[in-house]
Symmetry: C2
Subunit: 381 residues, 2 copies
């Protein structure tokens, strides 16, 4: 953009410079274009002619839904503060780590709707910075763009565009806020619904990749207190910082494929804020009994040791190795575990049968740890 | 939420306290519930049973679209920095002004899609703070919640939920970032499309209410330099600060009703960032000739005088009294202006025929001001 060459205050003086921003927007558009076919399984066709307009258009083949009602969902989600860890770790590794950060953000957006069987048709990006020179770091910008595009491919959705405001006085200069939204469709309406839960149902836990995008405030606080900060070596030889940056799994595709394979999943819980307390998210009177827990990744051992963080606090805050909980009838367990085992390499995570639900006081009981979380510890749904 | 009473670091220590947050979330849910019928005109029915789940569900009556294809849009938008003005002006007026700020945010989200005939079925909220004590200011929190709900009513959409992260280290403590997203439907697919533009079409300008939500960085800079800051009196006797906070009009309902009344609107432009340069947003070779301009509100006179800001810079940055441009065939002008005049009180703004488009070099010519903006001044679409 050419700034008008006249006497007087220009908008650039006030801290907004479209020259810094526009190359990033164009990179986003180039990568996003390649996602336009990602929702055709739902009869949702991206209209690339509308890219760059004020809203991205999608054509929906309504006939595909026939006599049925179509169920859709719309959600807004954010990454949290995990990108601050990437910024700090970059000083050690020399790499931006924003490919992972992008996947974390998209995962946060699409995993939640998947708990009730809504899978993403579209995802929009929100990248707010305190100073627009943030966008001039090409490695980081490229990583963010490519990572976001790859995550949309993994989540099977159209990247419909986004918003990239410079918010001087709101965002701290040098940092970025990452968030976004998704519009999705229920290919099997009513199959995943907390109302389907019954006493006797099994609890299947899907592996996490590590800390995901929750509890990073605690992790950062620990790193600040340690002499070696993010450079500290974990029991597996990796550094604390790099382990923290393992990206959140995108679970939506796995769950969608389970439903397609005829596995009747009743409901799911994305284990994020509130940790394992989230397992009792359904508005129902059940006790959730965990007989087994996955082995937490070394990053959790490290956080517990150096916090110090008690088991109770750890399971009430972090995913502790389990990123998602699925609820199925007992006769569906074998099919689900076989499916997960067979395709473990494709999705990048495994599954375990960890417990079951019984009628009774609403609480989560983690037997191997002797922990109970009662309903009052999860006040908001 | 009851915090576990054990030795060790708790999540609250790390700066996240759900006790501050939850009352705000509950207030949002209470107000949002009352919007669930707002999209029934599209056959979109909110499912209140899903409120509080990880995604808000909507049932779409696909049969309503019959043989037709359904067109939908999904957009992410943000307010910018206008809330910093509200925060500063509050020190003078003693009022939070966040009702207006909420409307500004929703307007930014729904006005853009309306340019191509997408009207909102749902809106989601994103409220990110640097410190969660932001939510403990009840007057401001109530204003934000009620204002957001009222704006969703005005925009005729379901408030489907949102995200309220505390982002210490990213957002400056005491401030808030407001943004959100919308999923919308085209009730008349193809009617509003930049491809419909033809030489000879008329340009109709819809009145703005004032500065709306763009160019606030400049306005804040001016206030900082003035002795009396936001207290300065404008020519109409109002203070600079209060005038800046007049909320952005929500134009989507007016445009939707025009289409319903059989007025064929070919395309629209939401005059936001890039000011009147935005009028040439369509990817087409036209010259946009403005024969008339609305009288800018006193707030613009004040900004131009105290910037100083030249006419050229002002029209390239601010809406200068025109918040939205509509393009119609010349024979539709009378109908549109009559409709606007008849319902001026209902929508809160009027319309004027301001010019027309001709085949030729892509540029905006503002005749009364002797200004031309050529295509290279609007590099990004």
């Amino acid at each position: 953009m050419t700034q008008p060459n006249e006497v007087g205050m220009t908008y650039a003086d006030a801290g907004v410079n479209y020259e810094n921003l526009d190359p990033f927007k164009r990179k986003c558009q180039m990568r996003a274009k390649r996602t336009y076919q990602n929702a055709e399984r739902f009869g949702v066709y991206g209209r690339e002619a509308s890219r760059g307009e004020s809203v991205y258009l999608m054509k929906v083949d309504a006939n595909r839904f026939g006599e049925h009602q179509m169920y859709v969902g719309h959600v807004e989600e954010g990454l949290g503060t995990k990108n601050l860890v990437a910024d700090a770790v970059r000083k050690i590794t020399g790499r931006s780590h924003y490919r992972q950060i992008a996947q974390d953000t998209v995962a946060m957006i699409v995993n939640d709707p998947a708990t009730v069987g809504i899978f993403p048709a579209s995802v929009a990006m929100h990248v707010a910075v305190g100073s627009d020179d943030w966008f001039t770091d090409e490695e980081r910008a490229d990583d963010l763009v490519q990572g976001w595009g790859d995550a949309c491919d993994l989540a099977r959705c159209i990247w419909v565009g986004g918003e990239t405001p410079t918010l001087k006085g709101i965002i701290i200069s040098g940092t970025v806020l990452l968030s976004g939204s998704s519009w999705g469709i229920a290919p099997k309406p009513g199959v995943m619904d907390p109302k389907n839960l019954q006493a006797g149902d099994s609890i299947i836990l899907l592996d996490s990749s590590g800390i995901h995008a929750n509890g990073l405030s605690s992790a950062r606080k620990i790193a600040e207190r340690l002499d070696e900060g993010y450079s500290w070596k974990l029991s597996d030889g990796r550094s604390f910082g790099e382990a923290l940056l393992d990206p959140t799994h995108i679970y939506s595709g796995f769950i969608e494929d389970c439903l397609d394979a005829g596995i009747f999943i009743k409901y799911g819980v994305h284990i994020t804020g509130h940790g394992w307390r989230k397992i009792m998210r359904a508005d129902a009177e059940f006790t959730y009994i965990l007989e087994k827990v996955p082995r937490p990744q070394p990053v959790f051992d490290f956080i517990q040791k150096h916090g110090p963080v008690t088991d109770r606090e750890a399971y009430s805050t972090f995913n502790m190795g389990a990123g998602f909980a699925l609820f199925v009838s007992s006769h569906q367990v074998r099919g689900l575990l076989d499916f997960a085992e067979k395709h473990k390499e494709k999705y990048g995570f495994g599954a375990m049968e960890a417990g079951h639900i019984v009628r009774g006081e609403k609480k989560v009981v983690i037997k191997p740890k002797g922990i109970e979380f009662t309903a009052n510890t999860l006040a908001v749904r």
